[in-house]
């Protein structure tokens, strides 16, 4: 955390709304981005607002033992997971198939990040596949492969041991691939039927 952030956090924790407002502006995209990945676009806005209410309510308790961003990630992920728990206590979808999942390279070659941005269709498929991954595993997967956090940071954010964080990322990765491969094969089946 840089000196300016530390100062803003200290002022916000004393009830300075101006400082809090600067913190919100500086970090709103982080909160919204994670909520969007974990919950989807319909719920991301409400969840982000709830995150900032929780931050304002709890910032007096922030002691600076971890980075402010780690603390913010933790509140964001906890808020998203509690939204999911409230909605339904459904079990995450698990893979029971016999075949090894396969994701073919698309004709446009979007496996190369430099070559092209993701097509709208591919983006929708990724979001739909993420939805099918169990919430905790999805959160861990998002933090690791979309936010680029280390396992130690993920463990701190999720409040679990490092090994559990690794396991959740690993299971999320596998479930996501299976979901993507199934979506791909469904699309191909529809395409050949038409």
């Amino acid at each position: 955390m840089n000196v300016e952030d530390r100062d803003l956090v200290a002022r916000a924790s004393r009830g300075d709304v101006e400082a809090f407002s600067k913190l919100v502006r500086a970090n709103s995209s982080l909160v919204y981005r994670v909520a969007l990945r974990v919950l989807g676009s319909e719920e991301a806005q409400d969840a982000s607002q709830e995150v900032w209410i929780r931050v304002w309510r709890n910032i007096r308790g922030f002691r600076g033992e971890s980075a402010f961003s780690t603390w913010l990630y933790r509140i964001t992920v906890n808020t998203c997971l509690s939204v999911r728990q409230k909605e339904s206590r459904r079990e995450g979808w698990e893979y029971g198939g016999e075949e090894i999942p396969y994701l073919p390279e698309p004709p446009g070659g979007d496996a190369d990040p430099e070559a092209a941005a993701l097509s709208a269709e591919r983006r929708e498929e990724i979001e739909a596949a993420l939805e099918r991954v169990r919430a905790e595993h999805r959160a861990a997967l998002v933090l690791r492969h979309m936010e680029g956090l280390s396992y130690a940071e993920i463990a701190e954010v999720l409040g679990v041991p490092d090994g559990t964080a690794k396991g959740w990322v690993s299971r999320g990765r596998a479930a996501m691939l299976v979901a993507l491969a199934e979506a791909d094969s469904d699309r191909n089946a529809k395409g050949s039927a038409e």
Partner: protein, 120 residues
């Protein structure tokens, strides 16, 4: 070939996923390489993981702007909350002052012993 149990299938899925993500070292990495070398379907699995990880990373690197409504809502709530805190503190101290005045008016407060440092 013996049928592979679901548990074992998941283990292979996860192991090759960890390998594709560059998270295996030493003996574990060699085991994953052997699996990929031995079976074409595992090789395709590793390639599929690599594609998926690139897609996730590409999506993760895209700039996402939070709607302005979120920022406005958060700041407005903080202002209201700060105002309520101040109002609560003000009313609390005002109430205490009135109570003190009432206690004084009714003569309920025991007289203070004043000392000028001259002993009893």
């Amino acid at each position: 070939m013996t049928p592979v149990g679901e548990q074992e299938r998941w283990e292979v899925l996860e192991k090759i996923g960890a390998y594709a993500a560059g998270e295996l070292e030493g003996e574990e990495a060699r085991e994953a390489e052997q699996l990929i070398f031995d079976r074409p379907d595992y090789r395709r699995l590793a390639e599929s993981y690599a594609r998926m990880l690139v897609m996730l990373s590409t999506l993760g690197n895209e700039r996402v702007e939070a709607p302005e409504a979120i920022v406005n809502y958060a700041v407005r709530r903080a202002y209201v909350s700060a105002f309520m805190r101040q109002a609560e503190a003000f009313l609390g101290s005002l109430g205490r002052s009135y109570l003190d005045a009432l206690v004084y008016y009714l003569g309920l407060r025991p007289p203070r012993r004043e000392s000028y440092g001259g002993g009893t």
